[in-house]
């Protein structure tokens, strides 16, 4: 029991350190003082929410939110379909399977920044510049998620698969009826990981969007850094607004996510 007290104390200190930036952000967003005054107050001075009103009228937040949502939906849907299929294919024995696995694993070492120019040229060639599909296209499949599915499918007992094959089910049916229902953690992990990566993606929308009304949230945030160098907390109110949807989704889905991430981590 004494040991517990010590652990709690340490964890509380760690929690304070991890939460401090969040608190400072919130405090700056709602305070009425000149934020560049020294010393800064630890509590917000005459807290008010009018910074949010100012930001609302200065920046097309709903439009950016909508764009981000659409792109993320496309990316998540694409990820589920493509990764499940690819993960399933990798569980079947075929010639060259190891080479494909090695190839995919080495693809993860290619940084996105190295691919932007050719990717831009290809996307322009396809006529998908400044479009939702063009924004989502490079994110439609992620290698980590393929292997999460593969690990989950590998864990399905062979007897079930053999029984299904004997019953004459085709491969697609096996995937849909046997594998996927037993892999709900993997599906959840896929959804959350692909959502996070597409939602937070910054460099690709920076290059691909040509018009302001196709920009996504991270882009909008970076663009307005220079607009809002004033002494109020308006910029930080914008950051709060931008972070809110992502945090909300995460808080709702966190148990599913952490559970799925751990399954993938230990099996991979």
């Amino acid at each position: 029991m004494r040991k517990m007290w010590w652990r709690h104390a340490a964890l509380i200190v760690i929690s304070i350190i991890m939460l401090a930036p969040f608190y400072w952000l919130l405090k700056t967003a709602v305070t009425s003082e000149n934020i560049y005054e020294y010393p800064p107050h630890l509590l917000p001075v005459r807290p008010q929410l009018f910074n949010f009103v100012d930001v609302w009228y200065l920046i097309p937040f709903p439009r950016y939110l909508f764009n981000s949502i659409v792109v993320s939906l496309i990316a998540v849907a694409g990820n589920l379909v493509l990764n499940a299929m690819a993960g399933f294919a990798l569980t079947l024995p075929f010639v060259g399977r190891r080479s494909v696995i090695v190839l995919l694993l080495s693809c993860t070492l290619i940084p996105f920044q190295a691919t932007i120019i050719p990717a831009y040229l290809i996307t322009a060639h396809l006529g998908l510049l400044n479009s939702y599909l063009g924004l989502a296209l490079p994110l439609l499949s992620t290698i980590v998620c393929i292997f999460i599915f593969k690990a989950s499918f590998d864990a399905v007992p062979r007897s079930l698969i053999d029984a299904a094959r004997i019953d004459g089910l085709g491969e697609m049916r096996i995937l849909l009826r046997v594998m996927l229902p037993l892999s709900t953690p993997a599906i959840a992990t896929n959804i959350v990981l692909s959502f996070i990566w597409s939602w937070n993606n910054f460099l690709w929308p920076l290059i691909i969007t040509r018009s302001q009304d196709m920009q996504t949230l991270p882009l909008g945030l970076a663009r307005f850094l220079s607009y809002m160098e004033d002494t109020t907390g308006a910029l930080y109110a914008f950051v709060v607004m931008v972070l809110a949807p992502g945090l909300l989704v995460f808080l709702m889905a966190q148990s599913a996510f952490m559970r799925g991430l751990t399954t993938g981590a230990t099996k991979g």
């Binding site: 008010q48 009018f50 009103v53 100012d54 009228y57 909300l248 709702m252 889905a253």
Partner: protein
């Protein structure tokens, strides 16, 4: 049964509550955005001042730009009808006297507002 579980899951309730809240707020905004601004002007002793000029300035990126003027009526009250902005300043003037510039922040553009504190005239500094 499945439908009931879906409806009670947080993935449905949270967005539903958010949408509902947004809907209610939009209805409120639509009913209160005529741009009405009302207030009073008083002198240093606290008596209402008739015929004072009230200037409405609207926030325009960096500065405040004068948008409209009106005069107070016999009971010292004034009224603006078409405020387009969410960040405005009011100032009353009457000859050699003026009130300090009062900044008013609204929750949305053209929000109808009755200014709580009266504008108090004092000799110009």
């Amino acid at each position: 049964m499945r439908l009931r579980r879906v409806l009670l899951s947080r993935f449905f309730i949270v967005p539903a509550v958010l949408l509902l809240g947004t809907g209610v707020w939009n209805v409120y905004v639509a009913r209160h955005d005529h741009g009405l601004l009302e207030g009073r002007v008083i002198d240093a002793a606290g008596k209402p001042v008739a015929g004072a000029t009230v200037i409405l300035s609207v926030h325009d990126f960096v500065t405040q730009v004068e948008k409209a003027r009106t005069r107070t009526d016999a009971t010292g009250q004034f009224r603006f009808d078409n405020n387009p902005s969410h960040l405005i300043q009011l100032q009353a003037q009457d000859g050699a006297l003026a009130s300090p510039r009062v900044t008013i922040r609204l929750w949305f553009r053209s929000q109808d507002r009755v200014v709580a504190q009266p504008l108090r005239l004092a000799p110009r500094a």
